[in-house]
């Protein structure tokens, strides 16, 4: 199977079923707007915590959609066909990850400055915020998908999926939000963005191998 056809199919699925994308965005906005209600509406309180807050909620928004990443294909049997095709499963998985990231991660990163504005985030940090969330969501997609592949044969994998992958998000959360904080303090954030970039490249190149092994395992289980 040609990978471009696969990408087209996945994009078409997201296009026909837009709620997958819009739900993640709505969750992002709703969850962030709860913080002024729960913490304080004062700009002096929200401003300093806004960066970490946006990062954590973006992380959760990516995470929540991942449960369905392979589920439909697993249930209707098309995952089995994909696993049997002569194209390596890792490449097929890579296409799936990139499509998910384009449909969920990119909109999130484009939305994040708006939320930064609402939380009175320092203005110098917006470009770094967009860049770090763009790269970071790709890392989150790749690492989280390992968990999605491991739990795909379980009927209720959602909570378990979060439990098993969230500890693995530690490095990207640290470097992603620190890079934005550096930019907000007027420091040079390039080095940290490069670390984020490196982590993302590492995860995107290694995770598909773990994911395809996990998917094969899940297919055996089913």
């Amino acid at each position: 199977m040609r990978l471009s056809m696969l990408a087209k199919r996945d994009f078409t699925l997201y296009w026909r079923n837009k709620s997958d994308v819009s739900n993640a965005l709505i969750f992002f906005v709703v969850a962030v707007s709860f913080f002024p209600l729960g913490v304080s509406p004062e700009a002096s309180v929200l401003g300093p915590i806004s960066i970490g807050l946006i990062w954590i909620v973006a992380l959760l928004s990516v995470q929540l959609g991942l449960d369905s990443l392979f589920r439909d294909d697993y249930e209707d049997g098309s995952l089995e066909q994909l696993a049997l095709s002569e194209t390596p499963l890792a490449l097929i998985v890579l296409v799936r990850l990139l499509v998910y990231w384009c449909c969920v991660g990119l909109p999130l990163s484009l939305f994040s400055p708006l939320l930064g504005l609402m939380l009175s985030m320092p203005a110098e940090a917006y470009s770094t915020l967009i860049l770090s969330i763009t790269l970071g969501t790709l890392y989150l997609t790749a690492v989280g998908a390992v968990g999605a592949a491991l739990t795909v044969s379980l009927k209720r994998g959602g909570m378990l999926l979060s439990l098993i992958v969230m500890p693995l998000y530690t490095p990207i959360l640290i470097f992603g939000s620190s890079s934005v904080s550096f930019a907000a303090d007027g420091l040079d954030a390039d080095g940290l963005l490069l670390v984020v970039f490196g982590l993302t490249v590492l995860s995107v190149s290694l995770a598909p191998l773990a994911i395809s092994a996990s998917l094969r395992m899940s297919l055996e289980n089913g």
């Binding site: 968990g147 491991l150 378990l160 500890p167 530690t170 490095p171 773990a210 395992m217």
Partner: protein
């Protein structure tokens, strides 16, 4: 020819022969562990001198440090056992992996708990977001993830394979997590609460600590084998040998 050379390996892989082989010497391992722990604890808690700065409260390191040592080593033990299980499809190594996960999680909790108890008199608070504590906490979460995944499947073999794979993914990540938490900590707390570096420790404290670490290793091996024996019986409970053992020959 090659077949007979590997026979011991295949024999070891069966829960039955593991159970039979360990029956004789596992009590001795228990005695060794108990002996080392008693000697180390008495020496450390009663005989070793008081610390000049921390007084008697430092003595908790005789439990805290060995537990933390083994909590980390236990993760690798678990991941290696899982990898062996995945590669050679050995039942016994999955059993070892599950046992290592339970014991490792318990030891991680012990090291976090004793750290908190120690923190109160030294730092004046039970919890600080220090690099080592935070890494330990994340290690604890990783253990919990492996345990939860192992028990989530109806078929035990599915849980074995899935959690082995997760443990391996975790192994790749642990060094990255440690480094990033280290860096994060240096950013937020310029090393104000650093203390107890092993080389500067006096011999009168260092020797009992080494004995305690050795004791913990022996204890770990003992508990691991005991747990594996119990699990072997449980997974093979429908086989004749397990019935014979349980019902007393």
């Amino acid at each position: 020819m090659a077949k007979s050379r590997w026979e011991w390996f295949h024999q070891l892989a069966s829960p039955k022969s593991f159970y039979e082989k360990t029956t004789r010497w596992v009590p001795w391992l228990g005695f060794l562990a108990a002996g080392l722990l008693v000697v180390g604890a008495v020496w450390g808690l009663a005989i070793a001198p008081e610390d000049a700065k921390q007084g008697n409260s430092y003595r908790i390191i005789f439990i805290h440090v060995p537990a933390a040592f083994l909590a980390l080593a236990g993760y690798y033990m678990m991941a290696i056992a899982g990898a062996i299980g995945l590669i050679w499809k050995m039942k016994l190594s999955f059993i070892a992996m599950r046992s290592a996960a339970v014991i490792g999680a318990a030891l991680t909790f012990v090291s976090l708990f004793t750290g908190a108890v120690w923190g109160k008199p030294t730092w004046g608070t039970y919890w600080v977001w220090d690099a080592r504590i935070t890494s330990m906490l994340i290690l604890f979460f990783l253990y919990l993830g492996v345990l939860a995944l192992a028990d989530a499947f109806e078929r035990k073999e599915s849980g074995n394979k899935a959690s082995a794979l997760l443990a391996l993914v975790g192994t790749v990540n642990i060094p990255i997590i440690y480094k990033s938490v280290d860096w994060w900590n240096s950013l937020h707390q310029p090393a104000t609460i650093k203390f107890t570096s092993a080389p500067s420790m006096d011999m009168s404290m260092f020797v009992p600590l080494m004995i305690m670490i050795a004791g913990f290793y022996a204890f770990y091996a003992y508990v691991l084998i005991k747990h594996m024996r119990a699990q072997s019986l449980q997974t093979e409970r429908n086989k004749q040998w397990a019935k014979d053992t349980l019902l007393g020959e």
